[in-house]
Subunit: 314 residues, 4 copies
C-alpha cells in the first residue's frame, strides 16, 4: 500500500482552500472531475496528508487548517462535501529571512513544502526553501519569485538529493492558455492576425494585488502569446462581486484568403483558485515521488506545469 504524501503548506489563501477542499471532495465522492492525472507514480488524488501550515494573518494562526481556509479575504466557495478537521493548526509564518530553523523543525515528518504565498517577497520564499533543504523536504515554489531559477538554490537542493520545483504555477485553464491556443490555431491555418485584445476581470485578493502592480503580469502574459506585437492587454479589473471567479473577454481579428474578415470573440469564466489547485495536486505528487525515488533537482515532469522553470529568464 502507498503511503500518503506528507505535505506542509505556506499560505492559507484561496489556492490552499481549493486544494484542501478539492481533496476532501474527491475522498467523499471518488469523483475525478477536473482531475488531470488520476495517479502520479501510484499516488492518487486522495493520497495527500497535510502535516503543517504557515500563515501570517493573525486571524488564521492557531485555527485548524480546515477552518482557516474560510476566513477573509479568502472567498473561494465552500464545496459541497464533508470536510473533517485536519488536526493541523496554522502556525505563524515567516515575514522575513529570520526563523528558518523554527520552520525547519516544524517540517519534521513532512515530505513536501508547497510554497503558495503571494508573489513579491523573494527573501521569504528563499527562507522557506532553506528551511525545506535543512529539513530534507522537497520544495515547490508556485510564485513568480525566482527560486528554482536561482542556480545557487538549485545547487543546494541537488547536492542534498532533494527535489526543487518552480517557478510560477501555470494555471490548469486560464486566459493565456485559451488565447494562446486560438492564436496558434490561426497561425497554423495560415490566417493573418490583424489585432487582438484581452480583458481580465477578477475578484480575489490576489487579483487586487495584481491590479495594483500590473506591469510584470502584463509582460508575462504577453510573453506567453505568439504574434504578441499585435495583442493589446486591457488593464486588469478588480470586481469584488466576481469573488473567486475570473472572467476574460478575448477578441481576435484576422484576415483569411482574399483578405476577408475572420473574427473571434470569446468569453471565458473560470474559478481562479481551482485552476491553481488543479496543478498543485500534480506538483505535490511529482515532488513526493521524486523525493521517495531519491531524485534531487527539478523533475522533468513538472516543467510543463510551470511558467518559469529553471533555465528561463529571471
Amino acid at each position: 500500500m502507498i503511503k500518503q504524501a506528507r505535505v506542509a503548506v505556506v499560505g492559507v489563501g484561496n489556492n490552499t482552500s481549493a486544494l484542501v477542499q478539492g481533496i476532501a471532495l474527491h475522498r467523499h465522492s471518488g469523483s475525478l472531475v477536473g482531475v488531470r492525472r488520476p495517479a502520479v507514480d501510484g499516488l492518487a488524488v486522495g493520497d495527500i496528508e497535510f502535516v503543517a501550515a504557515f500563515a501570517t494573518s493573525q486571524e488564521k494562526i492557531g485555527k485548524d487548517l480546515t477552518e482557516a481556509i474560510f476566513l477573509p479575504p479568502n472567498n473561494f466557495p465552500r464545496l459541497d462535501c464533508d470536510l473533517p478537521e485536519a488536526g493541523v493548526p496554522v502556525t505563524k509564518g515567516l515575514v522575513d529571512a529570520t526563523g528558518v530553523d523554527r520552520v525547519a523543525a516544524a517540517l519534521a515528518g513532512a515530505e513536501v513544502l508547497l510554497y503558495s504565498a503571494p508573489s513579491g517577497r523573494p527573501e521569504v520564499a528563499r527562507a522557506y526553501a532553506e528551511a525545506a533543504c535543512r529539513a530534507g523536504v522537497a520544495f515547490i515554489n508556485t510564485t513568480a519569485d525566482p527560486i528554482a531559477r536561482d542556480p545557487e538554490v538549485m545547487s543546494r537542493f541537488e547536492a542534498a538529493g532533494l527535489p526543487l520545483l518552480g517557478d510560477d504555477l501555470a494555471s490548469q485553464f486560464g486566459t493565456s492558455v485559451v488565447h494562446n491556443a486560438l492564436l496558434r490555431l490561426l497561425q497554423e491555418r495560415g490566417l493573418t492576425l490583424v489585432s487582438s485584445y484581452q480583458v481580465n476581470l477578477g475578484g480575489t485578493e490576489d487579483f487586487r494585488n495584481l491590479v495594483e502592480n500590473p506591469n510584470t503580469k502584463k509582460r508575462s502574459k504577453l510573453n506567453a502569446l505568439p504574434d504578441a506585437g499585435k495583442v493589446e492587454m486591457a488593464p486588469l479589473g478588480y470586481l469584488p462581486h466576481l469573488r473567486s471567479q475570473k472572467v476574460a473577454h478575448l477578441n481576435i481579428e484576422a484576415r483569411g484568403w482574399g483578405e476577408t474578415v475572420v473574427s473571434l470573440d470569446v468569453k471565458l469564466r473560470v474559478d481562479d483558485p481551482s485552476g491553481a489547485a488543479g496543478v498543485n495536486i500534480d506538483l505535490i505528487r511529482i515532488a513526493a515521488s521524486a523525493l521517495r525515488n531519491g531524485h534531487g533537482g527539478h523533475p522533468a515532469q513538472a516543467t510543463s506545469l510551470l511558467k518559469s522553470p529553471p533555465g528561463t529568464a529571471i
Copy 2:
C-alpha cells in the same frame, strides 16, 4: 522559370469567385494575407492560370469566368482589386453521366480539374473524374461525394499515373476547427466536459442547401469532435442577410478541480467561400506538382486538407 499551373474548374459558385478574385488580389498587391503556403514546390499563389470553366446555370454559360462569378445566387463580395478578363468563357457543364468525351476534349491543355460543384450528385462527379482521367489531367474533388475514396476510381488514376485528390474539402478556418481545438484543449488540461453546443448560421446558396438536407452534415460535424456525446448541434440557420459570411456560436460548459464551473462562449465570423478557396489554392498546386513529377494517386501532402481522404468511411 516556373510554368503556371493550368486549371479547369467545375462550378462557378462562391468558392470559385473567392479563388479567382483572391489570386487576382495577390497578383495586384503581392499580399500574402491569409495564405497558408506561400509556395508549393515552387508554385506561388499567382502561378495559376484558368483554362476552362464548366457550369450548368444558363446565365453563366457563355460569360467570361471573371464576369460569371458575380452572377446570382453568388454573393461573395467583389474584392478591391483589378480583375482582368480571363479569356475563359464558361462552358455548359454536365448534368448526368453523359458528355464525358466532350469534357475530356475541352480539358486539352489543362493540368488540373478542380471539381467545385455542390455536393450530392456523385454520378456527375464521377463523370468529370472520368473525363480528367481520359484527358490525362489531375482531379480534385472538393465535395462530400466519394470519388477519391472509391477504390475503382483511384485505381484508374494510379494506373494512369495521375493525381486524384479528395474528398470533401476541410475549410481553412471554420466552426469545426475552432470547436475541436477548444474541446481538445479542455481534455489536455484535464477538465471534464459537461455539455457543449454549436449554432451555425450562413447566407449562401450552399448553406441553404445544407439547411434543407442537414443530417449528413450534422453527423459529419459531430464526428469531427472529441467527446461528441456531450455536444449538441442546433439546426443550421439560413439567414440571407449574412450573404457569404458564416457565423457560429459555441458554448462549452466544463468542470475543473473541485468541480468548479468553467465556461466558454465563442462567436466566430468567417467568410465561407474564402475558407474554401484558401484550401483550394493549396490543393491545386499540390495536384499540379504531383502531375509534373509523375506521382499518380493521392498525394500525402493533401490528406490534412480534406475531411474524407482515401481510406476513410464512405
Copy 3:
C-alpha cells in the same frame, strides 16, 4: 385578514412546477426576489392556495401536486426550500370537449382556474373555460389558443360577471422583451437598422413541441419586433442539456451618423418556466381580485401581461 385565493390548475408541467415551488420558496424565506408585484389588491405572493389540479399523464394522476411536478418530462429544478404536501391529488384532465360537468363539479370551492396546458388544443381549452363558467370561477388562458379573444366565450363570462383573462402569456423576461427593447432604443436614438437575427435554444418539452411546429411561434415573435422586415429568426434549437433554461443569441447591425458601424451582440440566459410563473402569479391575483370585486370580463390590469389580449387578431 385577506382570504387566500383558491386556485385550480390545468397542466402539471414545468410552469406549474415553477409556480408551486416559487410560492413555497417565498413562504419559506419571505424573499421578494424576482417578484414584480409584491401585492395585488392586498393579495401577497403567498396568498395562493391550490385546491385542484388536472393533468392527462397517467404517471401524474393520483399523485399529490407537489410530487407530480417533479415527474418527467418536467425538468424545472427542485428549488432549495421546504415543499409541504399540498393535499391536492392530480385529477384526470380532459382530452376533448367531453367531461365539462365533471370538471365543473371539481371546481367547487375554487375562485380561479389557471389553464396552463400546452398550446394547440383549442377545443380542450374551451371545455375548461366552459366548466369554469358553469362553476362560477375566473378563467386564465395562458396558451395561444383563442379563448379570451373569442367574442362568444367572452360574452358568456361577462354575462356571468366572471373574469376571463387571456390569451398567451407574455414571459416576464425573454428574448422578445430584450430584442424589442434594443431595437426600439436604436430607433429612438436615430440609428438605422441594417440587419438583426435571433437564435433561440431550449431544453423543455414545450420547446421541443415548438421546434416541431415552428411557424406560428416564428411569426408571433417577428410581430413583436419593430422593423421586423430586417430581422431574421434562426430555427429554434431543442438542446436537451439546457433543461429548463432558454438561451438566446441576438445580433443587431446598425449604422450611425456618417454611416459608421454600430453592432450589438447579446447572449441571454433565462429559466423559461420561471418566466411564465412570474407572470402567472400576477394573473392569478388579478383574476381573484376581479372575481371578489364582481368585475366580469377582461381586467385592464392583465392586458400588458398577455401577448394576445381580447381585440388582437386570432
Copy 4:
C-alpha cells in the same frame, strides 16, 4: 429658402472630423442613415456652413478645415464621399483666458459656436463663451466643464437674448445608453439585479485622456445607471488598434421568479466620434433656430441631448 446655419467650431479633433465628413456624406448621397432628426425647424442636415475653426495644434493651424481633420492624433476614418475644400483655414485657438476679443472678431458672420475641445480646461471654455456672447453668437458646450450650468454665464446669455446649450454631450448611442436601458427593463419586469459590470475599451486620444483621469468619468457613468450600487466598472482600456471605435462588454446577473438565474452578456461596438457628431448636428440646428427666433438661454429641446443640462449638479 432656408439660409444655412453659419457655424464656427473650437477643436478640430475626431468629433469635428465626423461632423464635417458626415455632413458632406449626406450632401453627396442624400442618405439619412443614422440621422435622428431629418429637419430641425426647417434646417436639414446639409444646411450647415462652417465659417471658422479654432485649434491649438501647430500642425492643424493654417490648414483648411477639411484637411486638418485628418491629421494625427485624429483617427476617425475617411468616409467614402467627396469632401470639397471648406475654404476655412484653421485659426490659432485660445490656451487661456486671454484673446477673447480676437476670437469675438473672428466670429463675425457666425451664428453658432460649437465648443468641441477636450474637457478639463474650464477657463478656456468660459473665454470662448464670452467671445460668443460679445459677438452675438449662440454657444454650445459639449464638454463636461460647467458653462451652461454656471448661473452667471447663463444670465449673460439670457440678458443678451442668445442661446447657450450645454453641458456635456450625451452620445447618440453608447455604453451608458444600452446599460441603462437593460437595467431599467430588468426593474420594470420585476427581476432582481444581483451584479453587473461594464468594460469600456477605446482607441482615440480622448479615450487615452480618460484612461489617465478616470475618476470623474467613472462616477458620471455610474450616476447614469439605476441600482448603481450593484454595478462595477472595470478600468477603461486604451487599445490603440481600435482607433475611433469603442467596444464595451456588459454583464448583468439577475434573479427571476423562484430565484432562478437570468444573465445577459452584451458586446457593443460603436464609432465614438460618430456618436458625438450625430448629436452635435442636432444641437447646432437647435441653437441656430433659437437664435433666429430670438430665444435666449437654454432651449428645452436640447436638454435630452446633454448629460448635465442647466440645473444639474456641477
